[in-house]
């Protein structure tokens, strides 16, 4: 799964909290977009699979704070051991945009 928000992150708008509260974003592969944190803890984890039992805990952070923290901790530990090449946060600049283009009026002769 890839988390994607806000038209590939090209605009100034951002998802997240605009008052007290935490933001948690976890994706099996890539996370893109713009995110806001007003007053709390923001957590992003990209490149680790989340089990159904873990998702159930994370979706109810107030139900069991200890289980929530332990689950997040487990996922952080897992992502540090992961070698998922798709586990990226953001998008790297496109090097082709920096390519030098020669426009030549006339002939090109090669030996």
């Amino acid at each position: 799964m890839t988390a994607r928000q806000n038209s590939a992150g090209t605009g100034a708008g951002a998802s997240g909290t605009y008052g007290s509260g935490d933001v948690t974003i976890i994706a099996g592969n890539q996370i893109t977009g713009n995110y806001n944190l007003a007053d709390g803890v923001g957590t992003m984890i990209a490149g680790v699979p989340v089990q159904s039992s873990q998702a159930a805990i994370l979706q109810r952070p107030g139900a069991d704070a200890a289980a929530y923290a332990a689950t997040l901790s487990d996922l952080v530990a897992a992502v540090k051991l992961s070698h998922n090449a798709k586990g990226n946060i953001g998008t790297a600049p496109d090097p082709s945009q920096n390519a030098i283009v020669f426009i030549i009026s006339g002939d090109i002769e090669c030996d």
């Binding site: 992150g9 100034a12 977009g33 007053d39 992502v79 992961s82 586990g87 946060i89 790297a92």
Partner: protein, 149 residues
């Protein structure tokens, strides 16, 4: 990817790469009526861990005016990357704070490449060993600020 923060901490972990335009403060970056009204908390922080590389791009910031072009990050910034290293494309300012700190670590021989400058508390501080760090296994910069909050 852009992260905004007022009061709090971003902790981001990626199995592979992190490519970030900037960490900003919405009021400071986007307030078109009064520029530079940064309201970062003194302990606002952004911590990044990447299995491979971290790049702080600092371009195409989506500003609404021609001012505030230089990224002004939260007072506390931590970067920890693997063999792909850390690349800083543009100058960065950390918002002044008595609690501010900068931590940069590359693991497994990752390079640290800095094209811009870091600025703390209005005083530029250049790294002593030049603009490019070759194959540093554990490089750590920690700068403490001592300005009043």
């Amino acid at each position: 990817m852009t992260l905004s923060v007022i009061d709090g901490t971003w902790n981001a972990f990626a199995a592979n790469d992190i490519s970030l335009k900037e960490v900003n403060n919405p009021n400071g970056a986007f307030n078109t009526l009064q520029s530079f009204l940064f309201n970062y908390a003194s302990d606002a922080a952004a911590n990044f861990w990447a299995g491979n590389a971290i790049e702080l791009i600092g371009a195409n910031l989506g500003r609404l005016t021609s001012v505030n072009k230089t990224p002004i990050y939260a007072p506390i910034l931590s970067l920890n990357a693997g063999v792909g290293g850390i690349k800083i494309d543009k100058s960065i300012i950390l918002a002044p704070s008595s609690k501010g700190s900068l931590t940069i670590i590359t693991r497994d021989g990752g390079d640290f490449e800095r094209r811009g400058r870091f600025r703390f508390d209005g005083v530029e501080r250049h790294h002593d060993v030049g603009q490019r760090f070759e194959r540093l296994h554990h490089f750590l910069v920690r700068a403490r600020q001592h300005s009043p909050e």
